[in-house]
């Protein structure tokens, strides 16, 4: 449209932008403010900054551990997703065989599984293997939650690669696995990266199952938030804000890096844009 946006339209856009940004900014200041300011009877909008609360937070809670737990579980789950997902995507994108549609549908339908359904069985299963409260268990769960989307995103990118290149390599006598490794994977690298980033974000965000598996040792940033309570102090918002932004900045960087592929990734390949 070459027509200019109406004034009403601009107002709507600007107000939603303010509604989106202001709470984030406000919450960011929370991390650095003295506690009295946060729960004052009337809100104080102009902050006075102090690093005193920081000191207390870093002394009292294993913040680095939370960060490393999140990163470890997420990184591990992304590796599992890619190792299992790339061959599966290749198979669904490039071969014709009996049952292919059904297998593809099954993989996709696991995305619709309600976490509440698997919560108890997984709890019991991990308890039996003495894996409750370990980063390993979180890794396995995040991988399961994201595998369907990783397969479908990568499959969508693989379908777009023209057959001719593979055919040429095949006539030269290259094996299927070599074609996958040396031609297909490099050519759909943007899709693989997009899938990895989205899987990482969803892993980082996971709350419900993490809450059930993580008891103490395997606290991630996502669930550590809910535990910043200090007896008479009530909820420690400074610490919550701090952890929230420790997780926010890496995610922001990743998303900015794959911005142009984001909508395609989020719809598992349905929107090419």
């Amino acid at each position: 449209m070459k027509t200019k946006r109406s004034i009403a339209g601009t107002i709507i856009l600007l107000s939603w932008a303010v509604v989106s940004i202001w709470p984030i900014f406000y919450f960011a200041t929370i991390a650095l403010r003295p506690r009295v300011e946060i729960i004052a009877p009337d809100p104080i909008y102009w902050p006075t900054f102090t690093t005193e609360t920081w000191q207390k937070i870093w002394d009292e809670w294993p913040m680095v551990q939370y960060f490393l737990n999140s990163m470890g579980a997420v990184a591990g789950s992304v590796v599992i997703c890619l190792v299992l997902g790339i061959p599966a995507a290749y198979s669904l994108a490039r071969y014709r065989y009996k049952g292919r549609e059904d297998i593809g549908n099954y993989i996709l339908s696991t995305k619709m599984m309600a976490p509440a359904v698997v919560a108890i069985p997984l709890f019991v299963l991990f308890a039996q293997f003495r894996m409750l409260d370990t980063v390993w268990a979180l890794m396995l769960v995040y991988a399961a939650l994201n595998l369907s989307l990783v397969v479908w995103i990568i499959r969508s990118y693989m379908i777009d690669i023209p057959h001719e290149i593979e055919d040429a390599a095949r006539t030269d006598g290259a094996s299927d696995l070599r074609i996958l490794w040396e031609i297909i994977i490099p050519m759909c690298l943007p899709g693989i990266i997009t899938a990895a980033v989205i899987a990482a974000i969803f892993g980082m965000n996971e709350f419900f199952l993490t809450l059930i598996i993580g008891r103490k040792e395997a606290f991630t940033m996502s669930i550590a938030l809910a535990n910043f309570k200090g007896g008479s102090d009530g909820i420690i918002y400074n610490a919550i804000a701090l952890v929230a932004f420790m997780a926010f900045f890496p995610v922001l960087l990743l998303v900015v890096a794959i911005q142009n592929h984001l909508s395609r990734g989020l719809t598992m390949g349905a929107v090419k844009g």
Binding site: Y90, F123, L147
Partner: protein, 303 residues
Amino acid sequence: MSATATLPSTTMTRRRSPFMRKTFPYLLVLPAVLYLLLITLYPGIYAVYRSLYTGKFKLEWTGMSNYQQLLTDEQFLNSIWNTLLLGSITLALEFVIAMTLAALVYRDPWVKGFRIIFLLPMLLMPSAVAFIWKLMFNDGRIISDLLKRLGFIDYNVDWMISVPLARFVVIFTDVWQWTPFLFIIFVAGLQGLDKEVEEAARLDGASWWSMFFNISLPMLRPIIAIALILRGIDILNMFTPVQVITQGTPAGATETLGFYIQRLAFDKVDHGYASAASVLVLIVTVILAQVLVRRFFRSGTES
């Protein structure tokens, strides 16, 4: 296996037996399928088995009595009602806001530069977002303060004692965080539409409104369906804002299905009863997944 692995064109498979050629694609997809079966099929079977027993440590066979009890359990039915009520309002609001914003920006040459601003809420962890709004509404009284300054109210509102207000807070939290999800998809979808159709409609004298509603929206239908399904699945599982902000209060008015099952299983430690509830959810999910995957998803993602 009667399947033939017909590779798209040339089938030069030296040093490989016909058997290997047929099984190769299955071998590629097998590890992923096994992994998913382990983590979905196994829990499904376990939940069915466990739902037929009662007791915490010593299991006692009870047959279908867990299910009978559930179907008359007011808290269970209440949580289903809440999930549907809160879910449909949330999804409708997110759709309308996201589509409005997308319609306003999709032909803007600068949109690639500033869209990240609209995505920011989505990039925070949901648990962090829940705490942001817990602080804004409750603990920090900021929303009350802003409303007072604007002259709408003259006292601080307690958002957690009124049913509509508590529900509003939960819905607001989800809408604030996840409208960007639909927004970014709709923008990409609208940008993917043919510009020339729009130009032609405009030259024919169609107004922007009729062009948008009669041409753009219908063309976008497959993408809208997929986006709403993906968002809908997440909303049906809504848990985080309830756990963090309301804990289901007041009087169970914000208790969603996910929160209810979690409370049964891990607060009341009634695994048998909670399993029965999750089996019912599982049955609905499987039916829903079959219909949705086949009807909308495949047709939308098949290129």
